[in-house]
Amino acid sequence: MDPTQLSAAASSRAIAAGTLSPVALAEAYLDRIAALDNQLHSFVLVLRDEAIAAAREAECDIRAGRSKGPLHGVPIGLKDIYQTKGIRTTAGSRRYLDHVPDADAETWVRLRNAGMILLGKNETHEFAIGGPDFTLPFPPARNPWNPAHYPAGSSSGTAAAVGGHLCAGGMGSDTGGSIRGPAAYCGIVGLKPTYGRVSRRGVFPLSYTLDHCGPLTRTVEDCALMMQALAGHDPLDPASADVPVPNYAAALDRRLDGIRIGAIRHWHERDAVAGFGAGNEPSAAYVAAFDAGCRTLERLGARLVDLRVPPLLDYADANRVILLAEAYALHETDFQKRPELFGRHCFARLALGAFLSAADYVEAVRRRRELCEATASALAGVDLIVSANATGPAPRIDQVGTYATFERPSYTAPYNLTGLPALSVPIGFENDLPLAFQIAGTPFGEAAVLHAGFAFEQASGIFERQPPIAASLPGR
């Protein structure tokens, strides 16, 4: 058996049953990275010796009855904006090419305490915004379904690695959709938790009030297991919330009887073109997949109603102003003194923040409050929301322009702006490339979001289709 064909949860069950060795699992993933990552460029640093040593330790502990739980011995990757003590962390930038942190990100501490094995650091868009950029020291990651195509970003490396079975799961970050966009294009699951649910401490910031950390996994069950380790108050993260953490895996159920789901259709059916212009229509295949996904939710017992919230453009533009202002402030000195160190896309996008005024920022934050209230009001009548993610398949990687992020509708940004939890789940394919929608919920309602995602995933069976590159290596 090739253990890299197993989900993280299935690997965990095999490890617990004694039929899979954590060392064999880590070695299998490391062999895949060595053989295949020249196609995906998903890792910027591979920690082979360290990973095998940690896997040996896990194996000893588990055999001695000291299991740390369902993630013990499961290998992951971390987006290279997560600080790792003694291990280079570049944020995808020339500025930090030799940066070796002296502390770990809190999220990595929690995952390591849960027994996860770090295989390496994953490629990221520069400072989680500037990509795909061919002028940077590390080539941009490629889509595991077709390496000529874009995996989205900025958690591009993690998503490509998870989708290509180069690791069992990983961590991304999401300021406007950087977990859920790559999850959609790479055909995997990605969760942006509620703002405050998962610590951001030790993760390179992009925009303080919009940044979220979360997992990228092959299945919703894997996502629930990682969330169990990640969620919870961090008194040293000023945005962290002291809210009880439920049992996420226990919430997973295959039925959705009585659950009220509001479908936001106007974002993709009308607002995309009205706000961003012709050419931004969802593809016919996407609309069909979205509608089929909604029908599946209904077959599972959910009651779907159409939900109206403010126009998509309003969320996206408020998100952009806040992001640009906060990110510019963060990098201002380097933009002034060392602009040559930035890659082309990162500079062109973030330096626009220099031309926004203080009033622009304050108006964006006031608009944010109005949009939060309007969304909360709409959500009051339902338990969950279903809305579009990227409304077509991944473009070719050489067709992503510098300002594509401003020209195209962002279906993910509303949940950064409102802080609500949102899960990207695959719903189908177009031209052999994945499509996805989002299931969003109430603040700290990750358990309900994961429940609906799990029920949908299991009923649709879409997750069982894997990209050709995920096939076992010869001899495995």
Binding site: P339, R344, A351, L352, L356, D360, R368
Partner: protein, 74 residues
């Protein structure tokens, strides 16, 4: 879509922001100027109230990053 800021005004605003066109390079400086075509949309969008009037004074900024402390004891 709006036009980008004129080259002359852009040079002035860049200087005021402390951005050095020589360090940045002519090509990247021009690409940044082209990006300013999005700013008018952003600025208008965040000021839109639906009434045609400026936002009411009572509308506070968002404070979603401050969460209530929950003890689980009701």
């Amino acid at each position: 879509m709006s036009e980008p800021i004129s080259p002359e005004r852009f040079a002035l605003l860049a200087e005021r922001a402390g951005l050095d066109p020589v360090k940045i390079g002519a090509e990247r400086f021009e690409e940044l100027r082209q990006g300013t075509r999005f700013l008018a949309r952003f600025q208008a969008s965040v000021r839109r109230t639906g009434t045609g009037s400026p936002r009411e004074r009572a509308v506070e900024p968002a404070h979603i990053f401050v969460h209530p402390r929950q003890t689980g004891e009701g």
